[in-house]
């Protein structure tokens, strides 16, 4: 499993786009053109992995949504990439009847049932298009890979499997079953794409356990069915050591509710928290510069620009986990190097102009032509670099504006102290009643973290005081009700999660940035240095991977789909530490946990950790769900 999940999924997609034949390496191959048709699920899966240009290179001339109006293009093969739902099947039957394309390659994102297949068959027979349906495939790609080591389940109907849906008090069994089935289906597809059968471990007594039981059953059934098993044959041979199986840790969101509410300080997590960031695309509102408006002009408009943060963007890959001041510095450095290269090229221009009529031009020319060639060939790279620098400058400026207006660095520092149980220098009440430090939501988050991480709940009087202060600041108190319930519920379990013993060291004002005259005027924003500390999820993973004994994780159940008889014991049969692990959080996850896992992996070379969650939310979305739950 040397290739990351993202590469595997991208390779699977490319193969599918090449009519399910392995893509040729020949660069000057004849173009074969095709049309790609997807539904919204397919769109979400493809858009973080392949850009429009890459689709064009593979010969896709048009890419259309399934349910849009499509005109007949008579002599072109069409590749469909859709979920096997009722309406999609109806639409396919309609297309077959209307004879829109020459040949049809149907690829279903997850497995299609026999009855639906027969529906398509009857429609094909009725319109006499059976020979046109050239190939039908089950792609098993029902998950979205956002980063090399991170995936989420789906983006379209995520309310169905959100934290709110799983934990609502009036949930019915049938709903729960449906949710579990969706999650298990996607996880199954994920393991098929990965090509490995994992060993599953999960805590007892919550949604994670149900998911684990179902997944184990599904994997077991598939392995027993020797004829159609998806895990044999060449999928296993892709550079994998078959005796090293990955560890699959299922965690539940209820284990750690403070992390999604936490204010963060790393670049990617900040963007997700503060700006509109979905599927690697961030939307930034730009206000027009303060130019003098001409007489009688309309008022200044705010542009919304959206940027894609992709794997090809080296700056992003290097700095997405760095703390924000580092990012500011790095952007400044990149800008300087870019300007130096630009000056180089401009100087060439003047030299060429000067020496044009000189007799000694011949000897000078040789040097300059070489330089000119290199300059011209590096010009596209330079332009690309400029575009990326602009992108990051805009994004970082937007984030910085938010930080300054909401004083998020204060919150971050305070929460870190709360979570590591070190001494607090300002009382909570001060911060909450401070009118210009952050929005009402920020204060709510801070208070919830305080409530969750305190060993014993605050006394009634204190609580009333806090409530009053928060109502003054304009917060909605319904999340608090839910958290109270949750806390009471988990008190029966072991001590609440210990957030590690890290700390935060403020480093004073960022004077160096001011000296270099950068655009990011960071005065008033403290340069906070993150110390390493492990979030609960990381700690659990560590215990399970290294087979350490810990009272939290000893009670976890153990499933091995390859064993002949399912066992109820929780004694692991495998005594060696695992090299690969996949962590999946049922109920939602976020970039802070992902970053923590990435840091954990960096500290231990040779181990690979993949992070997945059923949905990705930032703090404000999570607060919304909590308030919905609290209102019931």
């Amino acid at each position: 499993m040397a290739a990351s999940v993202r590469e595997k999924q991208a390779a699977a997609l490319k193969r599918m786009l090449n009519f399910n034949a392995p893509p040729l390496k020949n660069t000057a191959a004849e173009p074969v053109w095709k049309v790609l048709i997807y539904d919204r699920f397919g769109q979400d899966i493809i858009s973080p992995l392949l850009s429009v240009k890459e689709l064009r290179d593979m010969g896709i001339t048009l890419h259309l949504l399934l349910h849009s109006d499509r005109d007949p293009i008579p002599d072109v093969p069409a590749i469909y990439f859709i979920m096997p739902t009722e309406e999609n099947i109806d639409r396919i039957c309609q297309d077959l009847r209307n004879q829109l394309y020459e040949s049809y390659y149907l690829n279903f994102i997850s497995a299609i049932s026999r009855s639906k297949l027969e529906d398509i068959a009857s429609a094909a027979l009725a319109s006499n298009a059976v020979n046109q349906v050239t190939k039908v495939f089950d792609q098993y790609l029902n998950f979205i890979t956002l980063e090399d080591e991170m995936f989420i389940l789906c983006n379209q109907n995520k309310e169905h499997i959100s934290y709110h849906a799983i934990n609502k008090p009036d949930i019915m069994d049938t709903d729960m079953e449906a949710i579990m089935d969706t999650i298990v289906d996607s996880l199954f597809c994920f393991f098929v794409t990965l090509g490995a059968v994992p060993i599953i471990r999960c805590p007892r007594g919550n949604a994670a356990e149900m998911v684990a039981v179902k997944l184990d059953k599904k994997l077991r059934e598939n392995l027993r069915d020797a004829r159609n098993s998806l895990f044999t044959g060449d999928t296993m041979g892709t550079g994998q050591f078959s005796f090293q199986r990955p560890l699959f840790v299922l965690a539940d969101r209820n284990l750690d509710l403070a992390t999604p509410l936490h204010h963060t300080w790393t670049y990617q997590a900040l963007i997700h928290d503060v700006l509109d960031f979905h599927l690697n695309r961030v939307c930034v509102e730009e206000s027009q510069g303060s130019e003098a408006s001409p007489a009688g002009a309309r008022p200044k408009k705010k542009n919304k620009k959206s940027y894609d943060l992709t794997a090809a963007d080296k700056f992003w890959q290097k700095h997405k986990g760095s703390p924000f001041p580092e990012v500011a510095e790095a952007v400044q450095e990149e800008l300087d190097t870019y300007r130096a290269q630009e000056d180089e090229v401009k100087r060439l221009k003047s030299i060429m102009g000067l020496e044009g009529e000189d007799d000694g031009a011949i000897s000078m020319l040789s040097d300059n032509t070489a330089k000119l060639t290199s300059a011209v060939s590096s010009l596209p790279e330079l332009l690309e670099k400029k575009r990326l620098i602009d992108l990051h400058t805009n994004v970082a400026t937007a984030v910085l504006d938010h930080i300054k207006s909401r004083k998020m660095d204060v919150y971050f520092e305070y929460e870190e102290k709360l979570m590591s149980k070190s001494t607090l220098d300002k009382s909570l009440l001060d911060i909450i009643s401070d009118p210009d430090a952050g929005t009402a939501e920020d204060k709510m988050r801070l208070f919830l973290i305080y409530y969750i991480t305190s060993q014993q709940p605050p006394s009634e009087a204190d609580l009333e005081q806090y409530k009053k202060a928060m109502l003054d600041a304009g917060c909605d108190l319904s999340p608090l009700n839910y958290i109270k319930q949750w806390k009471a519920f988990t008190k029966m379990a072991a001590t609440p999660a210990n957030y590690g013993s890290g700390g935060v060291k403020p480093m004073g004002l960022f004077s160096r940035v001011m000296n270099t005259g950068s655009q990011f005027v960071m005065e008033g924003v403290k340069n906070l240095v993150l110390k390493q500390h492990n979030l609960p999820v990381t700690r659990i993973l560590d215990n399970l991977m290294e087979i350490k004994s810990n009272q939290e994780t000893d009670d976890y159940r153990y499933f091995d789909p390859k064993m002949l008889r399912g066992s109820e014991s929780s004694i692991p049969r495998n005594k060696n530490p695992f090299q690969e692990a996949i962590v999946f959080v049922v109920g939602g996850g976020n970039y802070i946990e992902y970053q923590n896992l990435v840091d954990y992996t960096k500290a231990r070379p040779g181990k690979r950790v993949l992070y997945g969650c059923s949905e990705l939310f930032n703090a404000s979305q999570f607060i919304k769900q909590l308030s919905q739950l609290g209102q019931k």
Partner: protein, 314 residues
């Protein structure tokens, strides 16, 4: 990985067929088959046939180039005693043919493009065809790159060969037989050397100083020639580089050309609009003035009529 369920699909088609037969639904679709196929083929002819033709032509060119690439580049001929498989004239012929071919392909693509612009089809089909033509162009560019690479390698090799042959004119006689040009040059050089030797052999008892002098002069001449030829070779190489740069520049300039054209159109449209606007404003002013005149006239008439009535009454 992905599971191929095409066979499953075919099986379900069969079951549906048998089920339909069992339920008594007669398929009239058997008769529709030929008409459907005919309809498809008619539409197919127009665009995709031509596009496929262009592609097959470009592929033929590519195969031709690749086939003769080994002979063309001819890495081994310098050392081996075999006669090279290709003379320079053959190489030039290939160059010319390839260029003509590429030009015709590019023209064909341009023709197809203008045709599709003229045809009235739906927006999606237009987009599709435009994208198809783009793909073909990219393919053609790839094949042209093959050709220009080959050519650059050939020019470089010729230049290198000349350089190597120049470096040791005295050992020209010992050199392996080369191409005609080089043989001629070598013969000339060896002739001049032979002449020198003959001269010196005639005057057998030249004083050692004179011998030394002649030797020095020889050396100097050789050095001068070498440096001259070095510079010439240098310049040749640089000219090749410049020509490559020129190609890149012309490409960029052509791109800009289309943009400038469109800007020009826009500007022309804008000036027209401004002119019309001016006309309209003039009209409006005139109307305004005319209107005012009429109002004035009306008021004067009213006052006169009032005076008249007053006078009539009084």
């Amino acid at each position: 990985m992905a599971a191929d369920i095409t066979l499953l699909f075919k099986a379900s088609v069969k079951t549906v067929k048998t089920r339909n037969k069992a339920l008594g639904l007669i398929d009239t679709s058997a008769r529709d088959e030929p008409s459907g196929a005919r309809r498809n083929t008619r539409q197919r002819n127009a665009f995709s046939c031509k596009a496929k033709e262009v592609i097959s032509n470009i592929s033929k060119l590519k195969d031709f180039l690749l086939q003769h690439r080994k002979d063309y580049v001819n890495a081994g001929s310098f050392m081996s005693p075999d006669v090279s498989h290709m003379t320079d004239s053959e190489r030039d012929q290939i160059d010319q043919d390839a260029q003509i071919f590429m030009r015709t392909c590019a023209d064909a693509i341009g023709q197809l493009r203008s045709e599709t612009d003229r045809q009235v089809v739906s927006a999606q089909v237009k987009d599709h065809r435009a994208a198809v033509l783009d793909l073909i162009e990219v393919y053609l560019k790839g094949v042209c790159k093959l050709y220009s690479e080959q050519r650059a390698v050939r020019v470089k090799r010729v230049v290198d060969k000349k350089r190597l042959s120049r470096l040791e004119p005295e050992t020209a006689c010992k050199d392996k037989p080369q191409t005609d040009v080089e043989d001629n040059n070598d013969k000339l050089v060896s002739d001049s050397n032979v002449d020198l030797w003959e001269d010196s052999r005639v005057e057998d008892d030249l004083s050692p100083e004179e011998i030394q002098m002649f030797e020095q002069e020889n050396q100097r001449l050789v050095g001068e020639m070498n440096s001259l030829l070095d510079e010439v070779r240098h310049i040749e190489g640089k000219v090749v580089e410049i020509s490559r740069l020129q190609e890149i520049f012309t490409e960029k300039v052509l791109q800009q050309d289309t943009e400038i054209d469109s800007i020009h159109q826009l500007v022309v449209g804008a000036t027209e609009n401004v002119k019309e606007g001016n006309e309209d404003i003039r009209e409006a002013i005139k109307n305004n003035a005319g209107f005012r005149v009429w109002i004035l006239f009306f008021l004067v008439m009213c006052s006169f009529s009032l005076l008249f009535l007053d006078w009539y009454d009084g």
